[in-house]
């Protein structure tokens, strides 16, 4: 820590710790920011039949992709899945986070494990579990047939439905944890004060707890949205062709058909749409939070 000594001599104080950020900055500029330029340049390369790309430049990949109804359909489906999964995860995750934040029981640690373990088990394994449940001879169809509710198996996977159910489960912990941190930080005295001043439980929740937990909701929903529109494993394993999303399509372009420039253009389109969505959402929620008393 010899760098600390000269740092103290400098009287400016603020700029003194620059060395601390240098390794992280180098990592992220060199291997994160710079490579993104490669997608851009790759998307402008000409296609080639002999190599993954040719040397000339063209914007043909964008015009082709944007004029293709098939690709618009997949983009729309991806955004729809992302939105539904985010809403479902919030609706299912909020009660759990609320319960966990209030829980004083000695079983609380066990409940934490319930919330955490799906997160730690691994995406491929969890999606595999959903294949066991949702396939035509799977547990869900077996149960429904056993109860006499259906005669023929329902199509629960290889479509959007299966992908949505599995993604909601897969990313649920990602909304519970930020919310939990947020709800734990809210002093229980505030809710108590509201109750003792005569507000009902519902009113206390709507006027005190919910507004104070908006930062947690914002963080969690963005996380889940970005994770679910970019998910590859779950739609690749459960989606079939009826539940194909942008990520699956892009990987097909890159790995199966070696159309790197066209795949890069699709990736750029997907990224732009994601950025627009998230920044619009950030602006909207920031305005909503500012309007709070």
């Amino acid at each position: 820590m010899s760098a600390q000594a000269p740092a103290r001599v400098e009287s400016s104080g603020r700029g003194s710790g620059t060395w601390m950020v240098v390794p992280a900055l180098a990592l992220l500029v060199l291997f994160f920011a710079l490579p993104y330029l490669s997608i851009l340049t790759m998307s402008l390369r000409e296609a080639s039949t002999r190599a993954v790309y040719a040397d000339g430049f063209t914007i043909a990949h964008y015009t082709t992709a944007l004029g293709d109804g098939f690709i618009w359909g997949i983009l729309g489906r991806t955004l729809m899945i992302g939105t539904i999964v985010t809403v479902l995860a919030l609706l299912l995750g909020y009660p759990v986070a609320y319960h966990l934040a209030r829980s004083r029981s000695r079983w609380t640690s066990l409940l934490y494990i319930f919330v955490l373990s799906p997160l730690l088990v691994g995406l491929v394994v969890r999606t595999f579990a959903w294949m066991i449940i949702l396939s035509n001879n799977g547990v869900a169809n077996q149960a429904l047939r056993g109860l006499g509710l259906i005669d023929f198996p329902l199509q629960l996977m290889n479509n959007t439905l299966g992908v949505t159910i599995a993604l909601t489960h897969v990313f649920l912990p990602f909304i519970i944890l930020p919310l939990l941190g947020n709800l734990q930080a809210i002093s229980p005295d505030l809710a108590m004060a509201s109750r003792s001043l005569g507000a009902s439980r519902l009113r206390t929740f709507l006027k005190v707890t919910l507004p104070l937990s908006l930062p947690g909701i914002q963080a969690g929903t963005i996380l889940v949205f970005v994770l679910s529109i970019s998910a590859y494993v779950t739609p690749a394993m459960l989606g079939g062709s009826g539940g194909r999303t942008m990520s699956v399509l892009v990987v097909q372009y890159l790995i199966d058909s070696f159309r790197w420039p066209a795949g890069a253009a699709l990736a750029i389109i997907m990224a732009s749409v994601a950025i627009i969505f998230v920044s619009l959402y950030l602006r909207l929620t920031a305005r909503a939070m500012r309007r709070l008393p």
Binding site: L27, V124, A129, H169, L177, S247
Partner: protein
């Protein structure tokens, strides 16, 4: 509101929350049950207790190699990010000028804000352009470090944000030097954030798929890739045995964390 109403609402709420907990755990419990089932197929009814699928797993050298490879990559990512992520978080929270702070935050959380699959694609093209290609493990290792970096940065930043700075100032005014203040005041206060960040870093690195799919070098599969490949052609309980094993390991890790820093310290 009368006390009778209260209990009804409480019970309804508990039923709802209980159902969600069951939804969370159901697939995992199911996989575990089926991994101990002696039957040939991944289906009910259960036929009997058996360890045959675990035997089949442990006799599979590819799965063992893949597990070791995944552990190695996750461990290196965790160590690297534990150091540079913590330092960067302290710099951004304590030293950066207000103008620089915002764009630094965006850059540092960037890998989390953009889809992982895009970062994988970007790195694939980049390594190809600079001539490294995917011939070595260094490509996949750098990919893992980049993608898991924000988990350490965010957790340490959040710990720093919640930590009352006046404690540092008090230590300074009592004559402690910057290094002493860091070691005796700041570091103990942000330790839960560092541990949580590193835990997440390790687990996410162990789990991520897209980076590994696109950047893997020939013949080196991580565990998720190996399992994915396996499931393409086999839909048998050996895969469930892998799942069970990873669940046991997870529970062990959680217990250790609960005993050392406490699960309640988890923050985002």
């Amino acid at each position: 509101m009368s006390s009778v109403d209260k209990t009804i609402w409480d019970r309804l709420f508990l039923v709802l929350v209980g159902a969600i907990y069951i939804f969370l755990m159901f697939p995992i419990v199911l996989v575990m049950l089926l991994s101990f089932n002696s039957g040939e197929f991944l289906a009910f009814p259960l036929e009997g207790f058996s360890l045959r699928w675990f035997e089949s797993l442990f006799s599979n050298k590819r799965f063992l190699d893949a597990t070791l490879y995944s552990v190695r990559i996750a461990a290196i990512s965790t160590i690297v990010n534990g150091v540079i992520g913590t330092l960067a978080a302290i710099y951004v929270a304590r030293h950066a000028r207000t103008g620089a702070r915002n764009w630094l935050r965006v850059l540092m959380t960037g890998p989390l804000l953009v889809p992982e699959i895009l970062t994988a694609i970007a790195l694939l093209f980049f390594f190809y352009e600079i001539g490294v290609g995917t011939d070595y493990s260094i490509g996949i290792q750098i990919g893992h470090i980049v993608v898991t970096f924000p988990y350490v940065f965010l957790n340490v930043s959040s710990a720093l944000f919640n930590f009352d700075r006046s404690q540092e100032e008090a230590a300074r005014s009592l004559g402690a030097g910057p290094w002493m203040v860091f070691r005796r005041v700041t570091l103990p206060a942000i330790k839960p954030g560092i541990i949580t960040g590193c835990l997440f870093c390790f687990v996410i690195s162990f789990d991520i798929f897209n980076i590994s799919l696109l950047l893997k070098s020939l013949g080196n599969n991580t565990l998720p890739l190996e399992l994915f490949d396996y499931l393409r052609f086999n839909f048998d309980p050996t895969a469930a045995a892998i799942a069970s094993l990873s669940i046991f390991l997870t529970f062990a890790a959680i217990l250790i964390i609960d005993r050392t820093v406490g699960l309640r310290s988890l923050r985002f």
